[in-house]
Structure formats: C-alpha cells, structure tokens
Symmetry: C2
Subunit: 223 residues, 2 copies
C-alpha cells in the first residue's frame, strides 16, 4: 500500500509522512513542485533512515502512484487543487486533514465555508472517492520530533464508509503509536476541523503543543 500526501512538503503533511515511513509504510510526498517534494523526501530519509520509503513527486504523479491519498494542504486554494486531481484520485481512499482557519486580533477561529467542512468539500469535488477526515489535531512540531511519544493523543476519524475508516484508524495507530477513534459520519468533520482553532489558541496561552484525547473510551479504541 502506497500513501500519497498532497501538500506533503508542508509541516503537517511531511510530519505525518515521516511518522508513517518510520512505521514501515511507503510514502510519496506530493507538492506543486515535484523537485521540492523530492528534496524534502531525501532530507527526511537521510535524517531519519526510516524503515519504510519516502519519495517525492508533483501532486498528480504522487496521487497516481498511491492507494491512499492524504490531503494536507492549506484551505486556501483547496477547491481548485483537489478538484484538479479528481481524475487521478478516482475511487481511492482519501483522508482530509485540512483545517479551514482564520486569524485576527482575537486569535484563531474556524472559517465559515460553503460546504461546512473541507472534508465535505472534498467529497463534493471527488464524488467517486471514499473521503474521510482525520489527523486534524496532531501538532506538526511534535510529529517532527520523532522521539516524542504521541500515543496518548487520539486521532478522531470521521467518514461514511466503515472499511475506509478502518484503514484510516490503522494509519492513525502507525502515526501516533496510539489509537484512532471512529467518531461517526463524515459531516462531523465540520466540528473536528475548527476544533484546531481551540488548540492553537491554547498553545499560545499555555506555550505548549496541545492535542486531544477523549476520556471514557476503552483504551484500545475497540467498539
């Protein structure tokens, strides 16, 4: 199984890709600029010598070679970028970790968008794909600090297809060493995505890199 990360040279995308490769997966970082993606992949490989393989390519080539596509792009330009990949994404499994956020003097806040969430927007743009949402709340800083244990952070996974979510929960366990939690329908992405604004605000106030854990859920995340 090969995983393409669209926006894979950004801090969140490259951090998720690095963690997946460390766990043995085959990862292709995608970027608008394929050479930049290849360069980032080479840097991560030389620094971390992962068990798996990280390479880089332009977004279209990365997606074409992959089984699963992680969308880790800024929300700005999301519609054009994702819509333009619809033909190569086809029926693939898609994981959106896009957070539509705005910032002003009051701090961060979720952006009101027409589809209510970036994941629902992706589902509209990619009508054949199996779209899920996950990985919104992991700190890019901590993803790159590979010695940092993330196993106490929960990855909240939403989607409308059980088998797709099961695969995303497997990837979540590889990324954090902890668990994914199936929170329900894809539309709940509209509540997962902007919760990141709460975390960023907390990070500033408490000078930390916060994330989310749910209490009361069995340790293994088994249903």
């Amino acid at each position: 199984m090969t995983i393409a990360i669209v926006g894979g040279t950004g801090p969140q995308g490259s951090g998720i890709g690095l963690r997946l490769a460390l766990a043995g997966e085959t990862v292709i970082l995608g970027s608008r600029d394929g050479e930049r993606a290849a360069s980032e992949a080479a840097k991560l490989t030389s620094e971390h010598a992962p068990l798996g393989v990280i390479t880089g390519a332009n977004n279209r080539d990365a997606v074409a070679s992959a089984d699963t596509v992680i969308l880790a792009v800024p929300y700005k330009g999301h519609e054009e970028l994702v819509g333009g990949l619809a033909d190569v994404i086809g029926h693939k499994l898609v994981v959106s970790c896009v957070n539509p956020l705005s910032f002003d003097k009051q701090g961060p806040v979720g952006t009101q968008i027409p589809d209510l969430s970036a994941a629902e927007e992706a589902a509209r743009l990619l009508p054949e794909a199996n779209v899920t949402g996950a990985f919104h709340h992991l700190s890019a800083v901590n993803l790159h600090k590979v010695e940092t244990d993330l196993s106490h952070e929960d990855v909240l996974v939403c989607g409308n297809d059980e088998s797709g979510k099961a695969e995303v929960m497997r990837l979540a366990s590889l990324v954090t060493g902890g668990r994914g939690i199936d929170v329900g329908a894809l539309r709940l992405a509209r509540h997962l995505e902007p919760f990141t604004a709460v975390l960023i605000s907390v990070n500033k106030k408490y000078r930390t890199n916060s994330s989310v854990a749910l209490t009361g859920v069995p340790e293994t995340g088994e249903k």
Copy 2:
C-alpha cells in the same frame, strides 16, 4: 457567592448544580416551574446531603438572587428565555453550557445558528453581562454518579474577560475536581458547543460516556 442554574431541572443543569453543592457552593436550581425546581432541589438534598445548599425557584427569582448565572437550557427556546431574563441578569457573570444540536439518521450534528454559537447569542441578548462558555462536554450521567471521578476531564472555558474566566475555572475545578482550561475568546464557543455532537456519536458507537481532555497542557492548567 450564589449560583443560579437556568434550566436547573434538566439532567446537565441539575448535575452541575449537584456537584457545585457537594463542593460547598450555594446553588439555586431555576426552572420555568418554580415548584418543580424546589422539588428537584429537595430530592438532591435528601439523597446527597451536600456540604453546600441547593434550593429551587422559578428562573427569574433564581437569577435575581444569584451572583453567577449558568445557562443550561435546550437551544430550542433559548432566545426567548434568555432575552426575557436580560433585566434580572444585568451585569452578572453568565456561563453558557448550551449545545445547539440536531439529530437525524446520520446521528448528532451541530445546528447552524445565526449567531454561530449559543454563547454568542447570549452575549447579544445580554449586552451588559459578562458571558462565558463552559461545561459543554461533561456527561450528565457521570455528573449525577457522584462517586465517579471526573478529575481527568477538562472543562474548556471561553470568554472575553479574564476575571470572569478565572471564576468559571474555579467553578470548573469544584465540579470535576480537575481543571478548567482557558481556551480563549468567547467566539470559540462555536467550536466547543458542536464538539458535543462528536462526543454523543462516540458514546453511541463505543457505548460509553466520553468527554474531552487536552494533552500537552501543564497538569494544573496554570498559564
């Protein structure tokens, strides 16, 4: 300091009131029906013999006697109910734990409302009051099981006034035995409130009563 709970006979309101009274606070449960509130207060008192005092009254009388007002009402009817109390609420500290949620065959989801959150709606209806948001994510079931330790559950507090939030964080510590976390501006209530839909969905899938904890924040919640 006396705390009025508007909607204090509902499961969430009475649970918060019970926990506050157990911690020694003076609580007045408010209800549209003052006799029903008095009856609920007498029942909680006889069952739990709290250190503090719980009484009941109609919402207006409860608010008039209180320093702090907790809004624990269903979103349906929120505007009329809260707007109708504006004169007795005046400049008081207000804590909204209202969750505007909808339910259909896909499960729970946040309701899109004109003010974007119930807390912001309350701030519009109560222009003189010091409005905060908190207590959205505590399970009413667990609040009433007084032997259940809630200290690992974080109470996320938002508001635009630091002294108001400090008092709400004090109340949060009394309710859970754990900590409140100042997440930032009042408008972040628009992300705290519908996150409850995620928790309710998880509760159904995993047959539990989930809540939220943030990782990475210093244990005491000190800034």
